[in-house]
Amino acid sequence: MKSKFCLGLLIIAFIFQGSFLRVEAKQFDYKSPEFKAVASQFACTCGCGQDHYECDPNTCNLTTEFKADLVDMMNKGWDKDKIRKYYVNIYGEEILTSPEKSGFSLTAWVLPFVVLGAAALALFIIIRKWVKKKRTEEPVIEYQNTEDEVEGEILSSMIDEERKKYL
């Protein structure tokens, strides 16, 4: 009887322990890297200008619910891309913190590099033209060392200084 009682106590303790664990598990870390990967994709529309990872749940009701929904989805096993798709379907692209990498929004990502590439090419052509022009005019100095250059500059500044002193 005694051993049964002990066993019963143990079982109760075990059950309680489980519930304690569950209470512990309920506390979700909104600042964890996993949550960051998901929540930082979405812009908060409360006017704070932040994403749902940064936005403070204590000053913004909107993000409190949004965060809870995100956690629900994460618990269901949805990955960040699926969650992203889900919200884009409802709210459109505006909900995202950065434009999609498809359709017209792709230009946002690509244009800076296209412009940079085109400018680099233009720069290359211009320098080549200048170099060619120079080469046809006069032979280039074959070797010039930065060390000589530094020495030269120092020397000329010293000469300048002396000149100022005496003249």
């Binding site: 204590n58 000053t59 692209e93 010039q144 500044s157 010293m158």
Partner: protein, 660 residues
């Protein structure tokens, strides 16, 4: 007081118009008397702007709530310093500050010793006066600082608590000094073009002013970042907010100008490009103001929505069109003196690549900032372009920029041969690669961090070699002691070594950014009294939750004892402040700072049973960022300081006119 204060604005407007007209007339009739009258007008204008500032300071300081501006931005219990700084909390006041700086800069130039007898002065004055007319017009008719209310409220609305921080004293002032400062190089460039001056004089004078504006712009951004870090409670310092972008773009183009101008000085090339950079930098300051004041984009910095932005857009359009017209009309003159390059691999080319990357970075920021508007116009879909976009797009461009910065000092002017390259780069490159391998072995394995720090190692070594070779060369000739040689080397070549100090500052800032962006750790936990939170090497014991009153504000604070690796660091108090006259509470964070990292504690929420929620963050290398910022200031000041050597006032050799 009402009459006096308003008179300062309207008389100011009248004087600005008069001075502009009389100066222009003086220029066209070559009448020195008229020009002198215009110069008198400049002083009167400065006096008007100063009196308007003093009036508003007085009204704010004495809480005269019958004035709309005073009642909108202050309240009687506000500490006096924030009552005064509320001058630039709103549209009208901040534009008044802008106008004041503009008139200040104008008389500094018109009456400077270096510009005495210079025929450019009337032109520069006229261009700056045109700006002043615009600003006085805005103050007089659009954003009026001295409007009276119909009924006198008993109490003002108070100042947004976010603005009640020492950052408010310095950040807007430095930023505006930078913004307005960029109007000066613009005026110099335009004056030179109109006068058909293509000599060295204006470019040397302009560079000085650009460094000054650049320094203030850098300071403005740095103070802004520091303010955001301690005040907003999110643990970051740069959010790529449209308004931050607006001040970053002219910073980038001004930086590009400061480099490419060296080629113009040395090789008499790139004149059109340099003038374009000046025009773009100036236009971008106006564009930034348009963004902040128009409310077309969402931003934490935005002022109350108004049609003010439209005026700025129109003014910017007119200024840019006129500037381009002047530039085009002088195109042949500028083109005529174009020089040549000797080689692909030279300091000259590296400056061009530097320009390409800086302007490319500015374009990327610009494109990202306006893309929501573009998308809405093209597709009717509004999109948000935020932090992830800018981080991804800017990181490779700015990192390449760092690489050019590392390599450039070691390249020779004219031409670097293979032998020369091998000699200069072999050791730094090997050391950088060894450093990168070591990082990977020691556990720093994120690609951006390894590449970034590798480039910075290269940069530090090449810059060290620059100093070392300079000292060695000097010692060879003078036999001075190393430190004496270093000191003399530097003060005799202020610009060059000032620039290198700035480079080192940028390197430290980049190290801080890479560290804090890639290796930050964060957690948010709710704990009961007596419990603790653990994060990496830190243990935070939550010991007490209490409340106190400061003036009309209620402050809830927690006592947290922090241990690092078991060693007690002390007890700290993160707070939440509830304001008597503001709905939103704000967080006062506790920051425990060290060379390695910052521990950042935010009291987020609490319950009746004493349980509290904390956000705890470890931000690595934040102090490196602030130290780098400090070096930038030192370097820029060193470069512009009027020492005994160098920096001699350049001699004006341009076109002579009868009036000056």
């Amino acid at each position: 007081m009402f009459l006096f204060a308003n008179a300062t604005i309207y008389i100011g407007l009248a004087i600005a118009i008069y001075a502009l007209l009389i100066t222009t007339l003086g220029i066209s009739t070559k009448n020195q008397k008229l020009i002198n009258s215009g110069k008198g007008g400049l002083i009167a204008l400065f006096v008007c702007a100063a009196l308007a500032m003093i009036s508003l300071f007085y009204l704010l300081g004495t809480s005269q709530f019958q004035y709309q501006y005073v009642s909108d931005y202050t309240s009687s219990e506000l500490p006096i310093i924030y009552k005064l700084t509320a001058l630039w909390a709103g549209n009208a006041g901040s534009l008044l500050l802008w106008t004041f700086f503009l008139t200040l800069y104008t008389i500094m130039i018109a009456f400077s010793r270096k510009m005495k007898g210079n025929p450019m002065v009337p032109y520069i004055s006229a261009i700056l006066l045109a700006n002043a007319v615009f600003f006085f017009f805005i103050l007089g008719f659009v954003a009026k600082p001295f409007l009276l209310l119909d009924t006198v409220p008993l109490e003002g609305k108070g100042l947004n608590p976010m603005l009640q921080n020492p950052g408010m004293i310095i950040h807007p002032v430095t930023l505006y000094l930078g913004y307005v400062g960029l109007a000066i190089p613009f005026a110099f460039a335009m004056a030179a073009l109109i006068l058909k001056n293509v000599d060295d004089f204006w470019i040397k004078m302009t560079r000085r002013w650009t460094i000054i504006a650049w320094l203030f712009l850098s300071l403005g951004n740095i103070f802004g970042g520091q303010w955001a870090y301690v005040e907003l409670g999110w643990g970051g310092y740069w959010a790529w907010d449209p308004v931050e972008n607006a001040s970053f773009m002219p910073w980038l183009t001004a930086t590009a100008f400061l480099h490419s101008v060296m080629i113009q000085e040395r090789k008499n090339m790139l004149k059109i490009w340099n003038i374009s950079l000046i025009i773009v930098s100036y236009a971008l300051t106006l564009f930034g103001t348009f963004l902040v004041r128009s409310g077309v984009l969402t931003s934490v910095h935005a002022f109350a929505n108004s049609n003010l932005g439209l005026y700025f857009l129109i003014f910017m359009g007119v200024a840019v069109i006129l500037a381009l017209y002047v530039l085009m009309s002088r195109y042949n003159l500028l083109k005529r003196s174009a020089g040549e390059f000797q080689s692909f691999v030279s300091k000259e080319s590296s400056f061009l690549v530097n320009n390409l990357l800086l302007v490319g970075a500015a374009f990327a920021v610009f494109w990202g900032t306006i893309f929501p508007l573009v998308s809405e116009a093209v597709r009717g879909t509004k999109v948000t372009v935020g932090l992830p976009f800018f981080n991804k797009v800017e990181a490779p461009i700015l990192l390449s920029m760092m690489f050019v910065m590392a390599v450039c000092p070691m390249l020779a002017w004219q031409r670097s041969t293979v032998k020369n390259l091998r000699k200069n780069f072999m050791i730094p490159a090997i050391l950088a690669v060894v450093g990168m391998i070591l990082m990977v072995v020691l556990g720093i394995q994120k690609a951006w961090a390894v590449i970034g720090y590798g480039v910075i190692i290269l940069l530090l070594i090449t810059h060290y070699l620059e100093f070392y070779r300079g000292v060695k060369a000097r010692r060879k000739m003078t036999n001075e002691k190393p430190l004496v040689a270093l000191y003399r080397l530097m003060i005799r070549n202020r610009r060059r070594y000032g620039g290198y100090i700035v480079h080192l500052g940028i390197a430290f800032i980049t190290m801080g950014i890479i560290g804090s962006q890639n290796y930050d750790v964060e957690t948010m936990k709710t704990v009961a009294l007596g419990q603790s939170i653990e994060l990496k090497d830190y243990r935070l014991n939550y010991e007490r939750l209490d409340q106190k009153k400061e003036g009309i504000n209620d402050i809830v604070y927690a006592d947290i004892t922090v241990f690092k690796n078991g060693k007690r660091l002390g007890t700290f108090q993160p707070e939440k402040v509830f304001y008597g006259n503001w709905d939103q509470p704000s967080s006062e964070v506790a920051i425990i700072s060290s060379v390695k990292e910052d521990l950042y504690i935010v009291l987020s929420a609490w319950e009746d049973d004493g349980k509290a929620t904390f956000v705890v963050k470890i931000n690595p290398m934040m102090n490196w960022l602030w130290f780098g910022s400090f070096m930038i200031v030192i370097g820029a000041l060193f470069a512009v300081w009027n020492g005994k050597y160098g920096n001699v006032t350049p001699r004006y050799t341009g076109v002579r006119k009868e009036v000056s």
